[in-house]
Symmetry: C2
Subunit: 209 residues, 2 copies
Amino acid sequence: MARSQTTRKPTRIQREKTNSILEAALDVFSDNGFRGSTIDMIAVRAGLSKPNILYYFDSKEAIHKALLAGLLETWLAPLEEMDEDGDPIEEICKYVALKLKMSQNFPRESKLFANEVLQGAPHILPEIKGGLKDLVSTKASAIARWAEEGKIANIDPYHLFFSIWATTQHYADFDIQVRSVLDDGKDPFETAGPFLDNMFRAMLEPKAS
Amino acid sequence: MARSQTTRKPTRIQREKTNSILEAALDVFSDNGFRGSTIDMIAVRAGLSKPNILYYFDSKEAIHKALLAGLLETWLAPLEEMDEDGDPIEEICKYVALKLKMSQNFPRESKLFANEVLQGAPHILPEIKGGLKDLVSTKASAIARWAEEGKIANIDPYHLFFSIWATTQHYADFDIQVRSVLDDGKDPFETAGPFLDNMFRAMLEPKAS
DNA sequence: GTCTATATCGAGATAGAC
DNA sequence: GTCTATCTCGATATAGAC
């Protein structure tokens, strides 16, 4: 078990190889899911041999866990930026735009996450029931307050989050379907931005009571 | 290869066993994905032996294909019901409600479909680029016409469909996350119905120009 | 039609030379 | 640190008795 991860000083080369393995693994796992991926696929894409992969990581699962480890944090960062003292509708729409940008720029991460949750989140259920739930709860309170103050329409904050996650991640996770339905060549993200912005503004606009 | 599927008259018992295998397979595949599922899991859940499964189906993939075969059709049925001569907003909201009901009543089918599309739709890409694309194209034209006539707001019909699919299926596909974020015990579907209805009505309401 | 036993194969992981 | 060769195991699928 005297693996490189446990030694004291990881050299530059070690870091580089570790990174290229993770990079290749992200490709493979997001395309094929955990069970559908093989170490060989990762090795080929990383330009390394199979045993060499297992020199840097103890197992296939260790690679997967390493990828997931930082993922939820990255995924939640945009939500943390939501400012309770800012303009309500602008803050929410900014979050939507950020989340859509993440789907556009990090589709592999989105798919990795989708795969994981779809299978019942076997590796990150604690994090979901912990950090995610807590953060959402906090931000939901802020949104509920905005609604009480009449600054936005009276909507359920939790379902608001679900609809934001669902609509933005859909373009990454189901991209094959989206692009198949649209004329090939069109970039879905260009038109999705204005559409979603308009959709959430319409819903959030305070109604005359 | 003289398998029962190819004989002329499938007896009642054969039909029943075939159905219980498909039923068990739907459980297993939707929970674990195709690669993560084993014939043994299906056999145990169906109360049959592994070779007996392979007497009724030529291979694990054959079971999977059989499940997917009817799925897209079932999945599209609600969209076909959308009436171009009905009240625009009511027709669209009826579609949303139906789609949500399907997520509630057929979560396994939804997950099976999500798994398939997430992996790039290897088995049903032709159907997606064929029947699905055509049907959506037809209905999108109707919606575009409604918009031109000022009966609904001027929104992109394709992104409307994407947002409907994303939001409704989210409750089935990501149920573990939804239920983890909400207080346990609450049924997400009860509150999701009114929320989504309100959301799509707000977006579709014709704007004074 | 249904079983037990087994052939076969793919893939994770390890041994040991270099 | 990296390779070739190999062990091992789980899973698909088949053979053949009943």
